[in-house]
Symmetry: C2
C-alpha cells in the first residue's frame, strides 16, 4: 500500500457526499479501504535475499542491513489497555454518518464500513447506528422490564433476574429497513458503506422471549401480538407477531459478541427479532405487552411503510428479503492493475439461510456460482467469494443471492415492476459496481 | 444487582493474588462479574403496576410517577464514537495481568475475563495477551513476509499482495500452552479469569499458508517442516509440521472478528494454527522457512516442554487436548439464594469438535449431559449449559468434555498418573468449583 493511499485513509469524513465534490472525497476516502490494489503488486513479488527483506523493514540506509526498531527494542507491556483498541494505522476504518441525510445527529444513522470488514462478524465498535432520539448509557441496576397485557400475572424483571434464566447465543444479521434506501432514487451513493452499511452481524446472547411470557402466564391463544417498547425518549413501539416469539427465535438480549450490548445498541436490553428489520429490535427495552391485535403505532403507520405504485401503503412488511452485495471491489475502490482479484461479498435472508450466490462481471448476462464461506447460519450474514481475472476492460460486477425458500434476489427492473419507484424501505435489488478501464469502481444502476 | 456489588466491580485489579489477602481481593472483584446472583431475585419478581415500573426507573420521590431522564430528554448523536466502546457500567470487565506471575510486563500475560463473557466470540478488546518482548503497532506499509528455505523461488510479500489472494474466515479458539498451569501446583487460583483466561476465540481471516508455499514453489516432499518467525524483539520461532499446512488449516491471518488484527495480537500478520497452543500462532509474522526437520528453537526446547515423571522432557506436544470449564458459577462468584441456576461453560478440543459435555454437581459421582450451543465448529469454543436447582448444601461443580475422536477430558488423578506433578504446560484436567453452604464459590481440587 503506498504512502499516499495510507495517508488518504486518515482524511476526515466528508461533510456532504451527494454533490460531485463530495463523491470525489468519498472515493478518495474509500480508496483507503482495506483492499487497495497496488499497481504492480504481484509483479513486485520477486525473489530477494534475507538481507533484502531486512532492508525492506529497515529505517536507515537501504544498502545497510538494519532491523527495524520493533525487532531490536522492548515493546509495550500486557494490559496497556484493560480493554484494547485497533491499530493507529486503522484509524480511518470508522462508522460514518451521512451529514446531509438528517437534520440532527440524534435522529440519524451511522453506516458500518463494509468495504473494510472481513468474514461475517461486525466488530461492536463498528456496528451501524440508528437512533430516533439519541443514545444513552443506562444504569443497568435501575433498569426494569415489565411484561403486561393479556397475562395472568404482570411482572417486572431486573437485569439480574433475566440474566439468571437459561440463555441462548445465536449469530444473526440486523439490517435497517431503510438500508439501500437512497438507491430507489438512483442517487448512486458512491461507496458500499453508504449503500449497504446499515447492516451488521453479531453473536447475540439472551433469553428467549417466550420464557418471560410463560413466567407471566401469557394467554397465547388470544394474545396473537406483542408490543415492544423502548425506554428512550422516542418511546419506540413495535408490534411483533406472536408466531415469531413462540417459535423461540425472538430474544430479550443483553449480550453481543461475547460482552454486554453497547450503549448505542440498546444496553442493557434489546429485542433480537431475527430476519426482521432493525426498527423492531427495540433498544433500551422496558415493556412487553401481550395483545390481540397489531397496535399500528407511529413507527408502523407513518414510518417504515412501503408506498406502492397504486398509491396505497404496504404495512407490516417487516421481514428483510434475500439480498447480497459485493464489498470488494466496490464503489470508490480502485483496481490499479490487471490480473487476479478475489471478488468478495455478503449475502443474507430474513427467511432462512443463503442457499446460493451467483456473480456476474458483465452486468447480468453471464453468471458464475460463488463459494459460500461456512458456517452458513439461519438469518445470518454469509460471506461469498469468487476468483476473477480482470482483463483491463470495463466490467459490471453484480451478485445475486438465492435463499432456502428458493426466492431469488431481484434486479431493479423486477423490483420496480412490483414496488414502483417511490419507496424508501425494503430495497433488496441487485447492486451493480462498474469497473472503468482505468480501474475506478463506481456505483451504477442497470436493469 | 445491588449497588454494593456494582461498586465492587469497579475496584482496581489486585496487586498480587496468590496470598490470602490477594485471594480475598480477587473474590471481591469476581463477585462483580456478569453473573451476580441477587438475594431473593426471583421472589422479588412480583406483580406491579405500570406506575410501579416507572417509579422503579424514576429518580425522584418514589411515590411520584417520574420517568427517568433518558425517557424524557434527547440522547447523544450518531457517531459520537467513530469506533464505539463498552458502557461505563462495564468498566470492570477487563483483561487483567497477574502482577506476581512475571518480573516484567513485556514478558507476561493478561487474562480474559471468562466469567463475564457470553457465547463463544471473545471481544478483541478482551482477548488474552501473551508477549515475549512486548507488543508493537507495526506500520503495515513497511511490513514484509518472506518465504524461503526449500523453495524454488524465495518470495517477499507486502500486506497488500497477501490481502489480494483468496482468503478464508474461520472461527477458532486459541489457548496458551501454559493456561491453567498454576493448577499443577494446586495453587487454587481464585477465579476462572486466572485459571483458564489464557483462552480466547475469534473469527480469523487470512490466506491458507499452503497458497504462499505453492507460489514460492516449495518442495513439499522434502519440506516436512516449516519455521515461522516473528518480527518482534523476542524473535519468536516455532516449527510447524507440514501436514497441518497442506491440509489447508494453517492461515496467514490479517483479520480477527471482522477487522484487522489488534496490535497486541500480531497486527498486521499472525499465524493461525488451529488446535495448536498459542505460542505457535506467531505474531508479527515476518518469515516462513521450509525445511526437512524440526528446528528445536529456544521456545520449543527450553520452554513449552513437559517435564515427565521419569525426568525426561516431552517436546513438540503442541496440540491442545480436549478441555472444558464452567464459567458460571465459578470461583469468586456467590450464590445469594437457593433455587434455579443455569450452569454455563466452555468446551474445546485441538483435535476436532466437541461431541459431548457432562456436568456433575457432586464432584464427579453423578453426571448429567449438558446442552451444546450451536454452531459446534472444528477447533472452536463450544458453549454448554445445564439447568440446576441449588438446594443450599455444599456442591462440587465439574464439567467433563468428550471430543470427536472419543477422547475424554481427564480428572487430576488420571492426568497425574501420566504426567506427574512437575509440568507447567498442557493441563487439561477437569476443574472443580466448590459451592459452600453460604453460597461462596471456591476453586478446589478433587480427584
Amino acid at each position: 500500500m503506498g504512502e499516499a493511499t495510507r495517508q488518504g485513509r486518515l482524511r476526515k469524513a466528508p461533510e456532504h457526499f451527494l454533490d460531485a465534490a463530495g463523491i470525489a472525497r468519498v472515493q478518495e476516502e474509500a480508496r483507503g479501504g482495506r483492499r487497495d490494489f497496488l499497481r504492480g503488486a504481484f509483479a513486485a513479488a520477486a525473489a530477494v535475499t534475507a538481507a533484502g527483506a531486512a532492508r525492506a523493514q529497515g529505517d536507515g540506509d537501504p544498502n545497510i542491513l538494519q532491523l527495524p526498531e520493533h525487532s531490536r527494542g522492548l515493546g509495550q507491556g500486557v494490559a496497556t489497555d484493560g480493554y484494547g483498541k485497533p491499530s493507529k494505522y486503522e484509524a480511518n476504518v470508522q462508522r460514518r454518518p451521512s451529514p446531509g441525510l438528517t437534520q440532527t445527529r440524534q435522529a440519524s444513522v451511522s453506516f458500518a464500513p463494509l468495504q473494510s470488514l472481513f468474514g461475517i462478524v461486525t466488530p461492536s465498535g463498528l456496528h451501524f447506528e440508528r437512533h430516533h432520539q439519541g443514545w444513552w448509557d443506562i444504569d443497568p441496576t435501575r433498569h426494569r422490564l415489565m411484561v403486561n397485557g393479556l397475562v395472568k400475572t404482570p411482572k417486572v424483571f431486573t437485569l439480574d433476574e433475566i440474566m439468571r434464566l437459561p440463555s441462548v447465543s445465536r449469530f444473526h444479521f440486523i439490517e435497517c429497513g431503510a438500508n439501500t434506501g437512497m438507491e430507489w432514487g438512483n442517487v448512486a451513493v458512491p461507496s458500499v458503506q453508504y449503500t449497504h452499511g446499515m447492516l451488521s452481524c453479531s453473536e447475540f446472547t439472551g433469553v428467549p422471549l417466550v420464557t418471560l411470557l410463560e413466567m407471566a402466564g401469557a394467554d397465547l391463544k388470544k394474545g396473537r401480538f406483542l408490543l415492544a417498547e423502548g425506554a428512550d425518549g422516542s418511546s419506540m413501539t413495535r408490534t411483533i407477531p406472536m408466531e415469531l416469539i413462540t417459535s423461540g427465535q425472538v430474544l430479550v438480549a443483553y449480550g453481543q459478541n461475547g460482552e454486554m450490548l453497547r450503549p448505542e445498541n440498546g444496553y442493557p436490553l434489546r429485542l433480537v427479532v431475527p430476519g426482521v428489520q432493525g426498527v423492531s429490535w427495540v433498544k433500551y427495552l422496558r415493556r412487553l405487552e401481550v395483545g390481540d391485535q397489531p397496535w399500528a403505532t407511529k413507527d408502523e403507520t407513518v414510518h417504515y411503510v412501503d408506498l406502492m405504485p397504486d398509491g396505497t401503503h404496504r404495512q407490516y412488511t417487516s421481514i428483510q428479503e434475500c439480498k447480497s452485495v459485493i464489498t470488494t471491489p466496490s464503489g470508490g475502490q480502485q483496481l490499479l492493475d490487471r490480473g487476479f482479484y478475489s471478488i468478495s461479498g455478503l449475502a443474507w435472508s430474513g427467511r432462512g439461510t443463503v442457499k446460493q450466490v451467483d456473480v456476474s462481471v458483465d452486468g447480468g448476462r453471464n453468471w458464475r456460482r460463488a463459494l459460500l464461506q461456512g458456517p452458513v447460519m439461519d438469518k445470518c450474514l454469509t460471506r461469498f467469494s469468487l476468483d476473477w481475472v480482470w482483463d483491463g476492460r470495463p466490467a459490471l460486477l453484480q451478485s445475486r443471492a438465492v435463499d432456502s425458500t428458493g426466492y431469488v434476489q431481484p434486479n431493479y427492473r423486477q423490483l420496480r415492476e412490483v414496488r414502483g419507484t417511490r419507496s424508501i424501505y425494503h430495497n433488496n435489488a441487485i447492486q451493480t459496481w462498474k469497473v472503468e478501464a482505468n480501474g475506478e469502481v463506481r456505483n451504477v444502476q442497470v436493469s
